[in-house]
Symmetry: C2
Subunit: 288 residues, 2 copies
């Protein structure tokens, strides 16, 4: 079984655990809608690279995907980005109504921690590191991480004087914090020592930025439908982006530098880092 | 220092821990707006009654209040109950806007688990019970508990065929699950044995119902302003309530029976249960 299959199987199993049907359906609609499973893949791969078994990281990996999915559902709501579509289908509130989408998001966020905490006793032999990994996830998702980034992103819409410092602040939190938490969590339930954890954190910082920069580039350089959608949204919500601030050519150079820094961060792992190096290259290439 | 003072002090301390200012302000607006602190008080008192020190229960108690507060913020949003006021002040979204209120709620929910997990290492000597208490809180707040209750409550608005069974289902989850989690969490970080935990669960079930029934009674029997507000809301959102289903006289009898059952549940604790017995009596009396 590949890591991706492990994640899909575990997510489906967690979502069939006695959750009332209509609520569960709204949670499944967004959680099982495909996607790259980037954060759980980072978590399992970091666990493997540091000598752990993927099994130990699986509840944490699934929790990361639940948290990511809740953030997308809430982000799409009319009071936030007001997006009618997500991954080519109606967004959650278009399919289930606003109130139910709000609750499906609240449910996924809470369930992420329920899964982590209810699975904890299985990992009793490694309890301090399992719960430290959980704390990293809560912190990355939270009011000093992802939620802070979303708040700052919203506050700086249509802010003509927003600058490079604010852009870095937003993306380090909105995207980078949960990605960094994912690799740290994997390393913690693996057997990463302090130096390896620092390397993983460094990778997370640069890779998170690379991911956001290339996401911004895809938004302005994507296909016609995407461009139209972005322009349409920009009229109402002018978000602070890398291409908007630096231009496309300079943004591409920044992406290249971040990809290199992300790869450099993992030198201490030698060839064990192969999956991560390939991921950094592929992420860079998607915007070229 | 009283338990209430302990809770207020700890909540303020957690909210001054380096959270970005504007987001923190919106979280504080609702979290530090007073209130009875019922859930944290239940948690600390259950810990004391079972021989623990309140200090061990304090992070869990604060997390319970953060979760309760997030649920109020999200409940008040226009797509949910659309309440402009809460505790005599503009509701969070009226003060900060809908998007920020959504994020303040998401932030409080996530921060509840961040507090629990980051404080965990302090309780290493009692780790299995500390984390089991945390799991009870996640479960009570979650998709088989409070979120499920809110979903069912929403789904049954204006449902003329909703019945007593559905009303019990809703309230056992919407109000009862987090209250039960509060007393169980306190008992777990105290030194409750299996029989005492069962007694606490039994108390939580009956007291949660008592609390909801008397809340319903206050809504229909309260002062003129309250009645006006309730009637105004009922036009758009006819919620399923005990007085609506059974009439006021029969509802009062039910409240009396639940108060008695709640008190009976704690017989094994003898005089140590004094605080809980008084609370049950006071809760019953508030609706007479």
């Amino acid at each position: 079984m590949t890591n991706l299959e492990r994640i899909e199987t575990a997510l489906r199993a967690y979502l069939s655990a006695n959750i009332p049907e209509p609520l569960c359906e709204a949670m499944k609609y967004s959680l099982l809608a495909g996607g790259k499973r980037l954060r759980p893949m980072l978590c399992l791969s970091a666990c493997e690279m540091t000598g752990g078994s993927q099994e130990a990281a699986l509840p944490l990996a699934c929790a990361l995907e639940m948290i990511h999915t809740y953030s997308l559902i809430h982000d799409d709501l009319p009071c936030m980005d007001n997006d009618d579509f997500r991954r080519g289908r109606p967004s959650n509130h278009k399919a289930f109504g606003e109130a139910n989408a709000l609750l499906a998001g609240d449910g996924l966020l809470t369930y992420a921690f329920e899964v982590i905490l209810s699975e904890g006793p299985k990992y009793i032999d490694n309890a301090p590191r399992y719960y430290e990994a959980a704390a990293q996830i809560a912190s990355g998702a939270g009011v000093k991480g992802m939620v802070a980034g979303q708040w700052a992103d919203l506050s700086n819409e249509n802010n003509a004087s927003a600058n490079a410092e604010m852009l870095s602040y937003i993306h380090a939190r909105k995207t980078g914090a949960l990605i960094t938490a994912a690799v740290l969590a994997g390393g913690l339930v693996g057997h990463a020592d302090a130096m390896e954890l620092a390397a993983l954190r460094d990778f997370g910082t640069h890779f998170g930025l690379l991911f956001q920069i290339t996401d911004d580039l895809l938004d302005v350089e994507g296909n016609a439908e995407k461009v139209g959608k972005t322009l349409g949204k920009d009229a109402a919500h002018a978000k602070l982006t890398y291409p908007g601030l630096y231009g496309i050519a300079e943004t591409k150079k920044m992406a290249g530098r971040e990809a290199q820094s992300a790869k450099d961060a993992l030198q201490c792992f030698g060839t064990r880092a192969a999956w991560f190096l390939k991921l950094a290259d592929q992420t860079l290439l998607r915007s070229f």
